[in-house]
């Protein structure tokens, strides 16, 4: 049975784009400290999503059988 992707696996592309958008916002010298805290919190989450699955997990292998009619 094909496995559905979980939320952290779907968002790599979206995550890095959002991260770079936040970066652009933070480049503004007049950013408000409250807003800064909120954006940094979000950026931390995004970096965590991107790093965790890629670097920390081990290689997984599973065997797939061909259905009878196609094998």
């Amino acid at each position: 049975m094909p496995r559905k992707k979980d939320a952290t696996e779907t968002g790599y592309e979206e995550a890095v784009i959002e991260l770079e958008e936040i970066l652009a916002e933070l480049s503004d010298d007049d950013i408000d400290v409250d807003h800064l805290a909120e954006r940094v919190k979000r950026a931390t989450e995004l970096v965590k999503i991107c790093r965790d699955r890629i670097a920390a997990a081990r290689l997984e292998v599973k065997d797939i059988e061909l259905p009878e009619e196609s094998g």
Binding site: E60, K62, S70
Partner: protein, 419 residues
Amino acid sequence: MRNINNHRDRNLMQMPSQFRDRDEDTDGRGSSADDARSVSELIADINQVLAREFRDVWVYGEVGKVTNAASGHCYFDLIEEDGGEKSVLAVKLFRGVRQSLGPKMKQHGVDIVSGIKVRIRVTPDVFATNGSLGFKMSDLDPRFTLGDLAAKREEIVTRLKRDGLYDRNKRTRLPMVPLGIGLVTSKGSAAHADFMKTLEQSGIGFRVSLCDVRVQGDGAAASVAAAIGHLATFDDVDLVAVIRGGGSKTDLAAFDDEALARAAATCAKPVFTGIGHEVDTSIVDEVAFSWNKTPTACAIAIIDMVNDFVMRVETAAQRMATLVLKALATAERRVADAVGQLRTLRTSSLNGAKSRIDLLESELRGFDPVVLMRRGWSITYDKDGRVMKSVKQVKKGSELSTRLADGTVFSTTTETHNN
């Protein structure tokens, strides 16, 4: 068929006297019983005639069923199909001949495998043990086989282009971080081991869904095609990798199969190949999203894409840390200014501002490269302090410093290699 009959007619006309005389002397009564020969004698006589009359006969056709015996001999059918009519010769390639032809066949990458066209030299021969007529192969013309393979390929490529399939797989969408790999290979082969070892060494958490298939011989193309189609249906498969080790051109014929090329071209997921031949590409390579020479090169191509993403994220995280530190310094200066200027400000408000700054500092720890360095990552700078992201930035003699979790290594470049 016509050629064979012509040969037979000519042969009867030139039949040696010991056969012809008897036919002519019969006048309806049959040959004399006194002239009878033993079975082995008759077979020997027939073989003598056949060897003389059909010396140096070249014949062409398609190789049908092939049996490679443990003795080293090879037996195969040579087939001609014309409309519904089928003509078959039983050909024997004895071990000794095979060995003497070996260097020539290897040089041209041609082998006797089912489905290829060959032009071979044969001698007809009645096999004494069962009286059957067979053909002993003594030579092969590799140019004929290669010419036929090239012509066949061109026809298939033309049909794929006509049907709009040639570039279709190249237009599929590849996720930015392809961690789900559908792997089509012969489980336990050297190709399989090389591919997995390279993935493992990357330290990246790939998920491999492996379909064990035959990659050569009868049924190989159909088996690979079915596996590609099946793996593409899995949600957690981002790309399908088709890999096998090197082999002769005819051995790799499965990857020039039209049905397999169509399966790869119409696969909903990007197809990556690593079919292990340095010089030529197969049709499957041509229609694939990404063609790579070897299984290892195929794994590296996938790893590189993930590493590009990792680099993008880490660059963003590093830049973020710098920006936030700068913003914090500005904020702290503003608070200090406020304290100086607004002596009436209530202490609680000041505490509120201070706690927000503390919160920010704790968030910043998430970007600290030292955390990553403890996992084995490092950052390399040139002597001007610029972060090195590519070997292209580094020249022989460049002085570099590499920051690790607990210190810095200074080094001078002796050489660089691309991945």
